[in-house]
């Protein structure tokens, strides 16, 4: 029996992929519990709950079509056009006609409990060595009715190096050897050089481990470092295959749902 460790892309594919990918991931996870990372939770929340907040704000402008809603969604860090489209499909029930009532009910429910319930389904452990504050972001309504997706402590969607809402610097301090190995492996890959560079900078400087460096460049590295060697990383992302030999990880990579 295989114990999987799910990257963010695997979470996205199992709930918002095409039917083939959903069935494949469900089949792999069936009958067992698995693990994931708080960094995957942070990314999942930004993709799903962040888009829900954008959708609720878009609905306040009374759009006439789902295309109008899509056009109003902000991209933001870690939220590609493909991600927005996937979440919009979740919220519209896969129907391309706009039903504002159903869209709003689903968006509010995802913010209230569904996004988290889907994320933790079949998981018995969400490794949280860094105690990431962004993974605690919430969608909430401001006094004028506008929605925001923010950390309750800072009131901001993202964090700065100086914020004290995580212990990522301490967590990576204890993983410096593996962090360096991951950085060196990524630096040798043409498509991942900047991630490798960021990882190597984080080895030598605590200040380079938090804020935008963390959520913008070190996401995959942080997730990989949370994976145990007796687990199999389940992902669509090539960077894990690049890091795997250096970290002694086994990776099961599958093709993502084709982008539009």
């Amino acid at each position: 029996l295989t114990r999987y460790f799910l990257d963010t892309t695997a979470h996205v594919e199992r709930w918002a992929g095409d039917i083939t990918r959903q069935e494949r991931v469900r089949g792999l996870l069936a009958g067992e519990t698995h693990a994931t990372s708080t960094h995957a939770r942070r990314e999942w929340k930004h993709i799903v709950e962040g888009t829900c907040v954008d959708v609720l704000n878009a609905l306040r402008e009374r759009p006439r079509t789902l295309s109008n809603v899509f056009a109003r969604l902000s991209q933001g860090w870690g939220r590609s056009q493909g991600h927005r489209l996937r979440v919009l499909a979740l919220l519209s029930g896969g129907e391309s006609a706009l039903d504002a009532d159903l869209l709003e009910i689903r968006a509010r429910a995802y913010l209230r409990y569904q996004a988290e319930t889907l994320f933790v389904h079949s998981m018995d452990e969400v490794r949280d060595g860094s105690e990431c504050g962004l993974a605690m972001n919430v969608g909430r309504q401001k006094s004028r009715g506008e929605w925001e997706f923010v950390n309750p402590g800072t009131g901001s969607e993202w964090c700065k190096k100086t914020d004290q809402i995580c212990c990522q610097d301490d967590d990576l301090e204890g993983k410096k050897g593996r962090l360096q190995a991951a950085g060196q492996a990524l630096s040798k890959s043409a498509n991942h050089k900047r991630f490798g560079k960021a990882a190597l900078e984080a080895v030598s400087s605590r200040a380079e481990r938090k804020g935008k460096k963390c959520f913008g460049l070190l996401g995959d590295v942080s997730i990989a470092l949370d994976c145990h060697q007796d687990e199999v990383v389940l992902t669509t992302d090539e960077s894990f295959s690049v890091m795997a030999p250096a970290l002694g990880l086994t990776v099961e990579r599958f093709k993502p749902t084709p982008p539009p």
Binding site: A89, L90, G94, I105, R106, T117
Partner: protein, 204 residues
């Protein structure tokens, strides 16, 4: 479909039935059967024993009936026979109840229950957002799952959802519990992403 009269109060569907739904409903109950079904199966009677009394009280509140709070103040009602307005949620529960007890429900019956639950969700969007979310997640589960692959013994979560929808107060734990139950039983609660959807929305 004509509005159904129960207890002297007419109810109009929140949204008109499509032709397909009308056909399905007529097939299931027949023109007179639908009326009889509605009159026979009031919400309180649809619920398990423990829930029935709460629902009757709730039905009384919905009908504008005042219920006495102490023995010295006898129960007062605005009418000798309090009327019960049949809501979209009631319609959905009527359609759903027999399905999780039957082994051989037809696809059309599941589809009808899914449509009625969706309509109930819209009806409850403002008055009971948690009921709306449960109704919609159950509608999605019935709509996205090939119900022929779900044997009767795995339909427990539908019953749990049915019970939750009959509660006068629904907590977030109730919502989460229904969704978790559906996921554990193997229901699909999210749609498969399609190129058609992407093309329609992006215009490409």
């Amino acid at each position: 479909m004509a509005a159904l009269a129960v207890g002297g109060v007419r109810s109009a569907p929140a949204r008109p039935f499509s032709d397909l739904e009308e056909t399905l409903f007529s097939t299931l109950a027949g023109p007179e059967g639908a009326r009889e079904t509605q009159q026979r199966l009031r919400p309180a009677e649809l619920l398990p024993e423990g829930e029935a009394e709460d629902s009757r009280r709730d039905a009384g509140r919905r009908a504008g009936t005042m219920i006495g709070l102490s023995e010295s103040r006898p129960t007062v009602a605005t009418a000798t026979q309090p009327s019960v307005r049949v809501t979209a949620l009631d319609d959905a529960l009527v359609a759903l109840r027999p399905l999780f007890q039957e082994d051989h429900a037809a696809d059309g019956e599941w589809l009808l229950a899914s449509r009625l639950l969706r309509r109930a969700a819209i009806e409850r969007k403002h008055s009971s957002p948690r009921a709306a979310s449960i109704a919609l997640v159950m509608s999605d589960a019935l709509g996205f799952t090939d119900m022929k692959t779900v044997p009767a013994e795995r339909r427990g979560p539908l019953r749990e959802g049915f019970i939750a929808l009959g509660k006068p107060f629904i907590s977030t734990d109730d919502e989460r519990g229904v969704l978790q139950g559906l996921l554990e039983a193997g229901f699909y609660v999210t749609p498969g992403f399609t190129e058609v959807f992407a093309a329609d929305v992006t215009g490409s």
